[in-house]
């Protein structure tokens, strides 16, 4: 039978989710158990999004509920700074300050256990290269909304080439204006303009390596 907390999370019932989390802490559940249950709830949210049952507003709500859960549980959770394994670098390209799509993908990847380094918005091409270098990431995700900024993505790919790092990392471009032509123009490996497709690509690339940990 499905867990009540998992259902509340999947149904985006904020009040009930937080109430159940409090109850479980009192009842002696470990933070890892509680998070894992919520994570399964988030997984259902993702599936419902793929089935067009949920929309962006629902994904954002689930992120908000999970943030609330994490705030309650924070004192009990070990940091994941020491986690080893494949990692992902993500950011919104230089000149663009839109972060919704990037944040949703990062949230869903993290709640699936992947380690994601978020560089934020308006990220210079050189900073992407530096981050890939420092983290040894196997995926570089670049988000863009303004088509005006697409040429800076090409610059990132060119810089990876120049640095001899192009084969080490898969470049995924994502966002509203992205399509096959943008992929070809920038020299990226993959493109996605919806969350479901982006997650499918990330999972396919990381498939063999798998997530690094449960949170």
């Amino acid at each position: 039978m499905e867990d009540e907390l998992q259902i509340a999370m999947a149904d985006l019932d904020e009040e009930k989710t937080l109430q159940l989390v409090e109850e479980r802490i009192k009842a002696g559940y470990s933070s890892v158990e509680i998070i894992e249950t919520c994570r399964r709830g988030v997984e259902i949210v993702g599936e419902k999004y793929s089935d067009s049952h949920y929309y962006l507003s629902d994904l954002i709500m689930s992120e908000e509920i999970l943030k609330g859960v994490m705030r309650v549980l924070e004192p009990y959770i070990p940091t994941n700074d020491t986690v080893q394994g494949p990692s992902i670098v993500m950011g919104t390209i230089e000149g663009d300050i839109h972060d919704l799509g990037k944040n949703i993908i990062i949230y869903l990847l993290r709640s699936s256990g992947y380690k994601v380094h978020d560089l934020g918005v308006d990220v210079k091409p050189e900073r992407f290269i530096q981050a890939v270098n420092e983290t040894n990431a196997s995926i570089l995700g670049i988000s863009v909304l303004l088509s005006f900024c697409v040429s800076s993505i090409k610059r990132v790919v060119d810089l990876l080439d120049e640095a001899g790092m192009r084969d080490k990392v898969k470049v995924v471009v994502g966002g509203y204006p992205v399509n096959q032509e943008v992929k070809e123009f920038t020299g990226a490996d993959f493109y996605a303009n919806d969350v479901t497709e982006a997650l499918r690509i990330y999972r396919e690339i990381l498939g063999e390596e798998g997530p690094v940990s449960e949170f």
């Binding site: 985006l12 904020e14 067009s52 049952h53 949920y54 929309y55 962006l56 507003s57 629902d58 954002i60 709500m61 908000e64 000149g95 663009d96 300050i97 919704l100 303004l146 088509s147 005006f148 697409v150 040429s151 509203y176 204006p177 399509n179 032509e181 943008v182 123009f185 919806d194």
Partner: protein, 390 residues
């Protein structure tokens, strides 16, 4: 009647016939000068944004070589001095906040807090003056102070100056080149007024679950203001539509239930309120609106021009065609990454599919940005004339 006046009359008739779903002598073509012009004129975007005389002279130089009907304006969307006079936090403009050749960007914040809903709903404009203006402008932080009053006067003066300069420029373009402006007046969907400017996107999307009744009441309170906004800005004009850039109604921001209950009723009421006064809306459906076409078809016949950005054009034609004029058909990415040959081929197909029985205006799907190529934009206009004769 001069040659240019005759040309104006011909283009006006073309536009009005298409708006009323009729079949003119040829497919009307809409055109706007985008930020892409900067790189062909040796100017920075900052100059184009700040120096209206310069940006208008660029348009004046460009117009003689181009044969299109409906002018959408440009190359810049805003005149920043008005915002600068008030110390506005809303935008980053080229050279101020972003690099001098970078486009403007909106700095979205929760300028209205959840606890502000009741006061806002009770009197939206009063709340805007007392709280919103101070929240969004450093110079207006202390309403009634010397500094704030002067800044408000300066901002209002700048707004009027811009209006005057642009009206003069349009007058000249009409006389010299026979072009017809696309619209008069401006409005928004009430949900977008709330979501874009006041609560921010995340704020309003979370409100849908946390305080849905407040969202509904706020949208209802905004509706008469948005009807008025579309009319008042346009003076008495009802020949041309008011422009309404639509945002959160695009797929997939809202789930169908939210769209039906929160986005649509107040937008529909706004459109019906405008139409009751004879004013049409340019329903600028940025993004993909395919799932909502059936609901949009509930509107009174001809009350909107439906802009096709990434909405499924064939479905739009099937569901809305004949009852509403459709505008668009050329993906903005094609203007950047395509070639004149590809564009020509695309326009031929688009006209075959969408324009056949009239009620269609050829245009770029969305806002054409700085990366578009001039040769592609010109190819679009030329191909439209080549294939657009009925």
């Amino acid at each position: 009647m001069s040659e240019k006046q005759m040309l104006y009359q011909k283009r006006l008739e073309r536009y009005i016939t298409a708006m009323d779903c009729g079949k003119p002598d040829m497919v009307p073509v809409a055109f706007g000068v985008g930020e892409w012009i900067a790189k062909y004129t040796g100017t920075t975007l900052q100059e184009i944004y700040y120096d209206l005389d310069k940006s208008n002279s660029i348009v004046s130089e460009m117009l003689p070589g181009l044969d299109f009907d409906i002018f959408k304006g440009g190359p810049s969307l805003w005149w920043p001095p008005m915002f600068d006079a008030m110390g506005s936090k809303l935008y980053k403009f080229p050279g101020i906040g972003v690099e001098e050749n970078s486009t403007f960007q909106f700095n979205e914040q929760e300028y209205m807090k959840p606890e502000d809903y009741d006061e806002f709903i009770a009197s939206p404009t009063e709340w805007l003056v007392n709280h919103y203006l101070p929240n969004i402008s450093t110079e207006l932080e202390n309403p009634g102070s010397y500094r704030s009053t002067v800044a408000l006067i300066k901002g209002a003066a700048a707004f009027a100056m811009q209006g005057g300069i642009m009206a003069q420029a349009y007058g000249k373009w009409t006389m010299d080149h026979g072009i017809v402006g696309q619209g008069t007046g401006f409005t928004k969907a009430p949900f977008d007024t709330l979501g874009d400017a006041l609560r921010g996107m995340k704020g309003v999307l979370l409100d849908l679950r946390r305080r849905p009744e407040k969202v509904l009441a706020a949208c209802e309170a905004i509706t008469p203001h948005n009807v008025n906004c579309g009319l008042a800005g346009a003076g008495a004009d009802t020949r041309f539509p008011c422009f309404a850039p639509l945002h959160r109604g695009a797929y997939p921001f809202l789930n169908p239930n939210q769209w039906n209950n929160f986005y649509w009723p107040s937008l529909k009421a706004t459109i019906e309120g405008l139409w009751a006064r004879g004013k049409r809306m340019l329903f600028y459906a940025e993004g993909d609106w395919t799932p909502y076409l059936d609901k949009i078809a509930e509107l009174p016949d001809k009350s909107i021009i439906f802009q096709i950005d990434t909405t499924d054009a064939k479905k739009a034609k099937e569901i809305l065609g004949g009852r509403f004029c459709l505008q668009g058909g050329v993906p903005t990415t094609l203007l950047t990454y395509g070639t004149p040959a590809k564009i020509k081929e695309h326009i031929k197909r688009t006209i075959d599919e969408l324009a056949c029985d009239g009620g269609f205006i050829l245009d770029a799907g969305g806002v054409v940005m700085g990366d578009a190529k001039q040769e592609n934009v010109i190819a679009m206009i030329e191909a439209a004339r080549e294939y657009g004769v009925y």
